[in-house]
């Protein structure tokens, strides 16, 4: 599947396109199929997102999981500071990336 990501223009937060809005959680990401580039252009023009791009992901029971390690790190936060990630309470969070 293909999902759309970028950074929130104002805050810089990593965000994922859910089909209707942007979420900070990759689990909410939506399969954009062939429409990714178009949505990216529209959302960028509306200044809701910065440097959006389409990536490959695989569907899992927990939701989409980016194919490339770089976007898995983006989705989680730094693997070396679990306290700064979106899963600060999960000591195994880092292993999600690898």
């Amino acid at each position: 599947m293909k999902i759309l990501t970028g950074n929130d223009l104002r805050s810089g937060d990593v965000v994922w396109w859910t089909g209707a809005r942007w979420s900070r959680h990759v689990e909410d990401a939506f399969d954009v199929g062939e429409n990714g580039e178009r949505i990216a252009r529209e959302e960028e023009a509306a200044r809701r997102v910065n440097v959006p791009y389409v990536i490959d992901a695989v569907a899992t029971p927990e939701g989409p999981r980016p194919a490339h390690i770089k976007d898995r790190v983006r989705a989680l936060g730094p693997t070396v500071r679990i306290d700064l990630t979106l899963k600060p309470a999960d000591p195994a969070a880092g292993s999600w990336v690898i």
Binding site: N7, S11, G12, V14, V73, R74, G77, P78, T79, L84
Partner: protein, 543 residues
């Protein structure tokens, strides 16, 4: 410490106001990202893996306690409670909001700091010896020259759009603590028969094509220094490649045309430039130098040290260096606790270091290219108090220049250019060698890790270097041996096929075991490597 005059201050204040307007226009939609990106980069604001990243300049690594405290305040108020000190003697914040960036720059401007020229194809922050003004072995304090170069290069209209970024280091000791010959221009101030002049090395650098800078001039009278550098840059600006980013650095130009041809052109240009009279009058240099006058040292300070506390004694032996004034010492604060993130300091730790600088080091501290902090002028009788305060703050690791004093770039945990993570590898190696006795048995061993070929973590200059690469979508680590960024400068050589994350930790251990079995009296790791060559290490690594 240099103090801004009203011109300096108004330039920085004007830039803050200009950037505030640019950010507002970006947020309102008047500017697209394509239009805005070069403007934010001119103010040190990158978009990284997780957020905007702000790189703040620390000219030649020197800070007073007020500035240091401001760095802590920014970490606390605008970031997530910490900052990352870098190999270019700067600090980076990883979690900046675009909408906060103008306020941050405004706060920095109140303590004479900014983020100008921390990005872009211009002359970047000038780096220098972190022991400047204190080192027992220096010819003179290099910082007045670094400051002069800062003033010359800031907003230099001719050198604002060079083919590529440009880095200059100035030292004034035979011991090179600034990786001088791995800069685009390295300047070593020397004394020849009582006259001070500069040896000029041009065309060094790491990254994709690492090079050690060749010597271009063995003596430039300091009164001609700016003219000579202006000539060096003009020749580069004229002939440097703008068509290919990988060939754009001055090291490639010099490699392609040869150091002699480059030197000839510089000398010709120098004659022209010298006639323009851009070198400052002596009075202007003296004005700058006065800011770096030695602090009021207590000449009666005692040279005696109480070494009865064994932990303190280890820290003294490892992290404290000779000062030029009897009764004083230079103390290096390690930002490399075992298992920690090299170069990171929390806002609280930054405050502690600022307080110690204010109380015990004539209000000064320094950032080192090895991502540590220095208190340059500590009375020997105060060292124990300093060490106790550092211990309470988790800053008393006695591992300077040992295997756990690792330089590591942010790697794939933060950097959008990375191929692999650097920090976890650093943490695992430091943890494997956590025993300080074992580290001291290994002696001086500089281990440096980069997460991609750009070499921000100086892996080419590591006695042991590690480079993260992407091997079919997984992280892989190449090991290299024999580099040095010091006065015995050399480039490390790759051992062979790379390793996975745990494999590279094992490989480092095999290499150090091999060294212990081969070393002769007094040899450091790199000395043994230079004597025996790569083969014995390859044998233990690949069998």
């Amino acid at each position: 410490m240099y103090k801004y005059d009203q011109y300096d201050q108004s330039i920085v204040d004007t830039r803050v106001a200009e950037f505030r307007d640019q950010v507002e226009r970006r947020l309102s939609g008047a500017l697209s990202e394509d239009q805005f990106k070069p403007l934010r980069l001119m103010n040190g604001l990158y978009l990284q893996l997780h957020a905007y990243m702000l790189r703040v300049a620390v000219p030649y690594g020197t800070l007073d306690s007020r500035q240091m405290r401001m760095l802590g305040h920014i970490a606390r108020k605008y970031d997530r409670g910490y900052g990352h000190f870098t190999t270019r003697q700067n600090i980076q914040y990883n979690w900046i909001k675009l909408e906060d960036a103008p306020d941050i720059l405004a706060e920095l401007a109140t303590v004479e700091m900014h983020a100008i020229q921390t990005s872009g194809n211009c002359i970047r922050n000038i780096s220098s010896d972190q022991f400047a003004g204190a080192a027992a072995d220096e010819v003179t304090d290099p910082r007045p020259w670094a400051e002069l170069l800062r003033q010359w290069s800031s907003f230099h209209p001719e050198f604002s759009y060079l083919p590529r970024k440009f880095k200059i280091a100035v030292i004034a000791s035979a011991q090179d603590r600034a990786a001088m010959r791995l800069h685009d221009i390295g300047i070593e101030i020397v004394d020849r028969d009582g006259e001070h002049g500069a040896r000029i090395f041009v065309g060094g650098g790491m990254g994709r094509t690492p090079m050690i800078a060749p010597e271009i001039r063995d003596f430039v009278p300091l009164a001609d220094l700016l003219s000579y550098l202006e000539a060096c840059l003009r020749v580069y600006n004229r002939h440097g490649r703008r068509d290919n980013i990988y060939k754009a650095r001055i090291k490639i130009l010099i490699h392609e045309i040869g150091a002699d041809a480059y030197r000839d052109q510089v000398e010709a240009e120098f004659t022209q430039v010298k006639a323009l009279g851009i070198d400052p009058p002596q009075a202007e240099f003296d004005r700058i130098a006065a800011f770096f006058a030695p602090p009021p040292f207590d000449v009666s300070a005692s040279d005696v040290l109480d070494r009865s506390d064994p932990d303190f004694a280890v820290w003294l032996d490892q992290n404290v260096s000779a000062h030029k004034v009897p009764g004083y010492a230079v103390a290096t604060i390690s930002l490399k606790p075992v298992g920690g993130i090299p170069g990171d300091a929390t806002a609280e730790q930054i405050d502690v270091m600022a307080d110690l600088a204010e109380r015990y080091s004539f209000d000064e501290c320094r950032v080192t290219h090895a991502q540590n902090i220095v208190l340059p002028h500590v009375c020997k009788s105060d060292l124990h108090a300093v060490w106790s305060a550092l211990s309470d703050a988790g800053l008393a690791e006695a591992n300077l220049d040992l295997i756990s004093d690792i330089i590591a770039c942010p790697g794939l945990d933060y950097c959008s250019l990375a191929n692999a993570r650097s920090i976890p590898v650093a943490q695992k190696i430091a943890t494997r060698f956590a025993d300080l006795g074992r580290q001291r048995e290994l002696g001086e061993l500089k281990l440096k890790i980069s997460g991609c070929i750009n070499a921000c973590g100086h892996h080419h200059a590591g006695h042991i270097g590690i480079l993260g690469v992407d091997k079919k979508g997984t992280e892989n680590y190449q090991l290299s041996l024999g580099g040095s960024g010091a006065e015995d400068v050399s480039l490390a050589k790759i051992t062979g096929p790379g390793f996975d994350e745990d494999g590279v930790v094992d490989a480092v251990e095999k290499v150090t075991d091999c060294y212990l079995s081969l070393r002769e009296d007094g040899e450091r790791f790199v000395d043994t490597y230079r004597r025996v060559g790569m083969e014995p290490f390859k044998a233990v690594l690949y069998g």
